[in-house]
Amino acid sequence: MTPVPTPLASRLAALDLPEDHPERERLILEALGDASPPVREVAIAWAARVLEPGVLVPLVAEGSNALLRNAALAALERQGPYAVEAVERAVATDDTDLAMFACQVLGSIGGASSVAPLLSALGRSEVNVIQAAAEALGRLGRREAVMPLVDLLQREPWLQLAAADALGTIGDPRAAEALLALVPDTMVAEPALDALARIASPAALPQLVTLLTDQRNRRLRGPLLRAVGAILGAEKAEVAGDSKHTSTPSAQDATPSTHDLTATGRTIEADHGVDSLWQFLAERLGGGEEAPALPSTQHPGDDRSRSRSGNVTLRAAAALVLAGGITSLFPLFLRWADERDGRAWVQPLAWRYHDRLASVAGSLLAHPDPAVRAGALWTLPPATVGADQLRAALEDSAPAVRVAACYSIGVIGDAAAAKRLATMLDSGSAAECSAAAEALTRLPQEAQLAFLAPRLEPSTDEAILVAVLGALALSPCPALDERVLRLAGAVTGQLRRSAIRAVAAIAGPRAEVLLLRALADRDPGLQVEALDLLVGRGGDRVRTTLLAMLGIGDSLRYHVIRALGRLGRPEAVAPLERLFATAPLHERIEILTALAHLGGDAAREFLRQCLDQPLPEIRRVAAQGLAALAEPEDLDLLGRLARDRDWVLRSEAARALGRLGPGPARPVLLDLVRDLEPAVARTARAALAQR
């Protein structure tokens, strides 16, 4: 007779037995092989919590029951550092499957001590074990594994594949030569190129370029180009926003490639045929994508996939075009700079190769496509373009070109353009108005007084005033301070907000008084902004005012409490503690957060006392504060928090113990690593890894 299966709910409830129940271990072990995924999931959490690694490891060798084996693996992975020693021993076992799975678990756990057993596993005869060990060594990212992994590149394709990927992850240039030897004629040529892209060793560049320009390697053009691009710095950090005002090509930006690619550029330029490399680059620069290059975390339906920020192959193509001086493709590259997102990656790349662009500046600035003309102005050093040409660009028929010209004129401070900029400020589009205002703030003082001062009057059109004040907030002009201060009492909210931002950029007590007055503005949003601006300035008067404002129980007090925390002045501790007793809950939470920012013995003691408060959220915030302030003498307290029923408190305890460093806390962290709540376990694991 077939036994009637216990209902799901009963099987789940059976796992939640008291710690000392004699049947608990048996039930957990049984549930690890349960057919229901939810039951297994709960059983894995309990197994990680209560079973010793020595009990779990033999289950991994359970070849006849894949469910049980996989559940045991998952439990060991969750145990992390707690299981490392037992799993490391399992790598040396004669059981091939067990050794292979043990390697996989060690790769997931990521402990440095695992390098030695994994390197020994590379010497075994079973391909599965060697492959798993190679993959695990890649995940560990340890450089001592590089040469043994390089040796694997001589072996069968599965091992070549694992080793190439691991070497790419480790990123050591010693692997470059051996990886290049796999290109173009092996099964693993593409993974090898992917690894070379991640290593980005300049020594590999000449050979990669030779391979790329060889027509016979057409099928590998994408990966070859990405590897070349990585070496040429195509993926270097982007700049935030438009940084042209503050930056012209620096020595670092202008560092040439270690390998002169002009000859390569000439070769590419010589053939514009249908199947040529030139055509391939043109398609990439035109926005065509050969293969998906979204980050792995990006969902295809995510609207960011339509971003114009450029993908890996596009940027690689741009880097090669610039480094090789392939001038016929410069316009396609520059068009990307016409939009703000594009400029973030185009500008640094252009500055690195500014000499190439400068050599054909004239033709780029006269290009029939306005996007190219604007792109040239955004990327070429303004001094290279010259003041006459920039002034001429202010008369361009395309607004985007005129805007770009404004920025360049601001950089060189060309006073002769002031009159035209003022006209744009008065009658241009919103973008022109803003660009012209910013350019005018960067001109010599006489030009500022002549063209900006008359426009800083209450009678000026509001859009113009807002543009000028916005520019002055970024780049204050002392000669105009008086007029800006007068505008802080403007009638409309938008104008007062712009004025307050510009006021914040002005030094001295008068500006500070105006900001303090703005704390009582009728617009609550402006009050909060003024508060932020004051905190940014700091100072005794600000602190005194804010402490006085603690006595006013309005909606701004929430922000005042936060501001006092950010100011970091210890005098605020006692008043905040006094307010705590009577404040509403949302303010009490902010008081505790502010005390954590302020620090010191008194704040720490207050947070400790709050751990006895009845409200769970107060205890949580107090624990969060202690995680930032705890001292070694708090270890006992943190040990108690680590056993609290509330997972947030256990998580904060793990964070605090990680911050305090090595010592008697390790057993506590090893216990938290096996916590039923994954967020606590991960925090504890990160804390152990810090040490």
């Binding site: 508060l531 909606s555 949302h586 998580s651 964070r655």
Partner: protein, 279 residues
Amino acid sequence: MNEATEADWKLLTDLLEERFGLNFSGARQEILGARLRPRLEALHLDGLREYYHYLCFHPGREEELAELTRRITNNETYFFREAAQFDAIVRHVLPESAHIMRERPLRILSAACSSGEEPYSLSVRLVDSGSEFMGARWEIDACDLNPDRLECARRAVYEGFAFRNCDEETRRRCFQEVEPGRFLLRERYRRAVRFFHANLAAPFVGTGWGSYDVILCRNVLIYFAADGFDRLISRFAQLLRPGGYLFLGHSESLFDRGADFEPAYFPDSMAYRRIRCPA
């Protein structure tokens, strides 16, 4: 902004799951972070934990939760998306529901309709099928969590991307160009569609809900956590009359879950059918 800890993420994503049924664990955290950043800036907050506290305890939390719904819902939609399902309703569901339509209009729900492209697409297909002349009648209810999108739906003015799967002829016939590049859906397609605000993760109470013959809930369940998914499916089972149809997105499935439904296959698409109560 302060770097978010594991606990910060869990507190916030648990709250979103509890309030809206939406799952932002794993890789979706990054998407959530990008969508929340403007809110943190607007509220002058330094990190996710502070935002979590704001959502739970600040006096302005209800307004912020409403604002949050605008940020975290995915509004990606367009006319005639997965159009084979509309054809299945016109060619198969409508004829077999003739006996119902003799008594009352066929009742259809478009759940999580965003800016209205889905219910309007169905309306276009139904009107253009000429079924009205053979006695067919229908009502389409459409709901969404995001009040801004519902407002767009009521305006029924569309542009650009909304027409990516709509041919020129259909656009000219069904829409009127009200300004360059902006098109208003003609009244005859709008009149059978009613919109209302609803949180699919909350119990179905208040106005708007009724007993339906067809429910469309497409490309929504992929954002729901397992518990929320199961709860919503059992609510749909309550809302559908026995024998009624549930249409999901092509990447969504009730395989191995939802004992109240059985697959129903049409020539170019499939749906799930509410199992009839045993006699």
